[in-house]
Assembly symmetry: C2
Homo-oligomer: 311 residues x 2
Amino acid sequence: MQIDRSHLERPRSDFAAGAAYVRGRFVPIAEATIPVTDFGYRRSDVTYDVVSVWNGVFFRLEDHLKRFQSSMRALRLEPAESIDDLRQILAECVRLLGKREAYVAMDCLRGAPRPGMPRHPSNCENHLIAYAVPWVWVIPEDVQARGAHLMIASTPRIPDESVDPKVKNFHWGDLTRGLFEAQEKGVDTVVLLDIHGNLAEGPGFNAFVVKDSVVLSPDRGALEGITRKSVFELCDDLGIEHQIRAISGAEVLDADEIFLSTTAGGIMPASRINGRIMGNDRPGPISMKLRETFWKRRAEGWHATPIEGLS
Amino acid sequence: MQIDRSHLERPRSDFAAGAAYVRGRFVPIAEATIPVTDFGYRRSDVTYDVVSVWNGVFFRLEDHLKRFQSSMRALRLEPAESIDDLRQILAECVRLLGKREAYVAMDCLRGAPRPGMPRHPSNCENHLIAYAVPWVWVIPEDVQARGAHLMIASTPRIPDESVDPKVKNFHWGDLTRGLFEAQEKGVDTVVLLDIHGNLAEGPGFNAFVVKDSVVLSPDRGALEGITRKSVFELCDDLGIEHQIRAISGAEVLDADEIFLSTTAGGIMPASRINGRIMGNDRPGPISMKLRETFWKRRAEGWHATPIEGLS
């Protein structure tokens, strides 16, 4: 693929708020738009992924690219760009942004039906969008330090049978309702249960329960998070037992510790659930150990891909 | 609200493919875009409605505006424009399009979080988009004439508990999967059951079962369609018994007739379900009677609002 280079004539300051790749061109984030008729918007017929840049390096870039590719395959989306193209596009977005900490997104949208063709998703030109914006914490750092106050949302997560949570998607109606409920109740964020009452996930993160020194993570109803995968690796290295299994709502409420994981936040401890104080109202010891080790390893270059190597 | 009139300086031909209202201005449909960072796209945090124009008049405009208003309220969306503004905006889109048959959409999107504010949906500027495009049939006319060939999708519809189907939304992952399944099996479209195995809805339409001369419609799992409401009114006028209740998958497969209803298609009969031929492999008598009466009434000005009256 030949990448359009016309953006190199623009002042770098144009990209300070974010740099995007849309319809084959690099543009400032404010110019990155999608048509109102695109099924990616109108039917949420789209998949995406997000990789983080910290200290100037991508974290687990190949894992994210692999998951994105598998999500696109599941939805039968085929953009013009190859994964090799995409790797270069993401690096160029980060270079244009000019920050050492960034949130880097890639979306593949269905597109709009070709004129004159039946309005079937198979008649659309799929297309890729990517962008890098300055780092944002899903949960602010001061909240992470005291431990997030959580509640179980009254809305159940969309079941796997209807929309596969392993294919990263924007079906967030239930999660958004949860965020408003959290705001009403004065807590930081929510975790959702599935329709059977087992822990699923929260708005933008995986959730873990620690009970009797064992780290538990749901076996379904949630994204197979890449930070979640990193948690399992750290547990193995630190000799912490972990299990992937159904976790009932009662077990969530009875947890010794709860922590959350996400690309835009790493490992984020909680200190309260449904008003109940866990431990001493501070992040628990296993959550803290995992969080500290996570950021220490990242500073050491764990699973890192330098941006320079991608040009 | 003062409506921007700068579009009146553009040639009318610019709007032949569609006329849109975005960010307070009227533009050709190709220029109607949303930011890639808008939660309306990124979290499918949006509601919409669609009203039809046929023979130069809106059909049940006030019903659509009322439903749209109630959907916005349910999602806590508050655009700058009032419903009176919206009525004028829709009419202006249709005038600009310059067609007597049109598909007219209105969306209210969450927007992107204000810079520097936490990424919570309550920190966004909600905004309205509207557009009119030339009429499109959800099911082509020749297919309607022979009766659509349907199948029950293997994917269950997202449950009401997770995402309320009465608030018109773009959570279409399950419906899109159904459309691909239909294509693979060589049928026209699909109906989805809910997770309990009862009839829900299809991609863009309500579904009805006729059994022993009674018209049945699901009591949950589906949009409260305005064409569906019209079907009930026609049943009353024509002396056809109708019931709103749970309809099992077995009842769907054993139907005497099945028909579908939608704004972009009216009342659309089916002739086959899962390969089984219903009746004589043509639209059944009750479906045909309802369809004919529906279009006859519309030609007579039933529930009509002339565009001119809205200027």
